[in-house]
Symmetry: C2
Subunit: 345 residues, 2 copies
């Protein structure tokens, strides 16, 4: 463990994920020398409290990264695409929470509990996977190691905070209107940049991000491609249906997984119970299983409803829940930063 301190930049510091990154850097006592909060001009000037100081947010520019050692990006893919190369040019390691570099073969895509060994291979940019992928892969890794996985079929129940602070406001506003008997005028979800808007309050929207030519959404294809890359195994078949539901914090996932070997259900439970970053919550008799309401604010991935498939003896069903802003984003990124710091000369 080095005693070195680091100059850190947080890009998108005022966003839903950025806020959590700042909180975690403070709470975890990350070895910060200087810290810089960057954003678009819209949020510049906002004061962010960090270790007793009020630090004004600065406009992010290519030269913002001079002297920065570690830059954490969560301001959207376009910002990362434009600015991360400048940060790298200035010598920073970028931990990017957007989709910009995830499938770039030169960028490791890292969930520390799964493939922290890849961090050392970076060429300046380390990609943080998509929220819905991270929690699923963290839960499946111990099963993958023990039995191998031939296929995954996942249906998600995703919180609106994954679409940012404005989506939280939209859910709250729509919910209040409907309870009040008023008309609802959706104006953000499912995808801010697309023309059609749907009601999210008291509804379930089977679209997260834009549709691709194959009929899957980008969110679904992220789960497919990222899972293969993180496991380092293109032979794992993955199918996803990603759905936004009226939850603020915490993604839930119904995961069917087909293992390559016969398994013992108790051994599966033991593997999950002892897996790093995973908490087994699985006691049907006591009505105990993971819930978004209880996972919110916690760093772990919670797994329950562990049961053998009724048709395929190598099939297994799981219910996987995690705070999408923490393990699904900020905490995974800060974990990567901590590993970089610990291994620095």
């Amino acid at each position: 463990m080095s005693n070195r301190k680091f100059n850190v930049a947080v890009v998108g510091a005022t966003g839903a994920v950025g806020e959590q990154i700042v909180n975690l850097l403070e709470k975890r006592d990350f070895p910060v020398d200087k810290i810089k909060f960057l954003s678009s001009p819209r949020s510049a000037g906002t004061l962010i409290s960090f270790k007793g100081q009020q630090i004004p947010v600065e406009i992010a520019t290519p030269d913002s990264f001079e002297g920065i050692d570690i830059a954490l990006f969560s301001a959207g893919g376009d910002v990362s695409k434009e600015l991360a190369p400048h940060a790298v040019r200035h010598g920073a390691v970028c931990i990017d929470n957007t989709n910009a570099f995830r499938m770039d073969p030169t960028a490791p895509l890292v969930v520390p509990e799964v493939n922290s060994d890849k961090i050392a291979e970076h060429q300046g940019i380390i990609a943080n996977p998509n929220c819905s992928t991270i929690q699923m892969v963290a839960a499946l890794k111990p099963l993958y190691d023990q039995y191998g996985i031939s296929r995954i079929i996942v249906s998600t129940y995703q919180a609106v905070s994954g679409a940012g602070s404005r989506a939280i406001d939209e859910l709250n506003r729509q919910s209040a209107a409907i309870l009040n008997g008023d008309e609802v005028q959706p104006d953000l979800l499912p995808v801010g940049s697309l023309p059609v808007k749907h009601q999210i309050a008291f509804n379930a929207i089977p679209q997260i991000d834009k549709f691709q030519d194959n009929g899957y959404t980008l969110e679904e294809m992220k789960m497919v491609r990222e899972t293969k890359k993180i496991l380092g195994d293109e032979s794992v078949d993955v199918t996803a249906t990603c759905v936004r539901i009226p939850v603020v914090y915490g993604h839930s996932e119904s995961v069917y997984v087909e293992l390559k070997k016969d398994y013992d259900l108790e051994e599966i439970r033991n593997l999950l119970a002892s897996a790093p970053g995973v908490t087994l919550v699985d006691d049907p008799a006591a009505q105990l299983y993971p819930l978004a309401s209880e996972a919110a604010g916690k760093p772990d991935v919670f797994v329950g409803r562990v049961r053998r498939d009724l048709g395929n003896s190598r099939g297994l069903n799981l219910w996987v829940v995690s705070d999408n802003l923490l393990k699904g984003a900020a905490w995974n990124a800060v974990q990567i930063a901590e590993i970089i710091a610990a291994n620095a000369e």
Copy 2:
């Protein structure tokens, strides 16, 4: 078509499903001679409006069914178990919306679009399947007929109205409390008769009905067993994960189905578009897919997000939505009653 009129009894007429049955009998101009609304002593005396008359609800007793031709039950399994045999003894045909007789080999389990031929085989009781099963089977029937089905993996997004009027009140009350920053005290869901209660507002609860010894809930096992019985094919593997979400009306389902033959995706769309009781809503470019908010109040089963599985070329993913109180309960029951009436001497 007969011109006969029928003496009809609605048991549980004041419940969430019973109300819809009464509405449908009136709206569809069902050939009623006399109609009787029955309930527990708690609701007896309530006035129900039917075709301009205010009819008081009577206490349901074994002798309530004298002279009744058709009895529609939706007052819970215990009431059906106790009273349906008496209705049969009095010569009535019972259409039972509870779980009491669904797996009884002498009771046809009917979704009219799938197996209306079974109605004639009844021995006094016809079972209406579980809401989550009905919509899935109605959507899959045309695919089953054309290609055969080897397996189904379904994850549900179920509305609280499936747990009755009190669950709707609970969701509304909890939602208002949370929006107001107040503490929430859950007191009904997931299962009224079990000790542990969970927050449903802004949450997803992976338990509907009681757990069975195999780790599946009764709701999940209903989907498994009923699907096989309705399709008349025990060889179809079914796995279900049933989840309650903060929606009032309309169950959504993420359905993975493996067909027995290679298929053409356009042919699948054509089969669904022309299937009875099914409406295809599937235009990703226009962001069109089924939504609970739009299915509510409508009789059809809506199917969209039709896409080929990425791993298995005979696999297919669908998003299936329907109003759980209508096609999932009251409308399916009234459809059966209409067929009985049409075929009566």
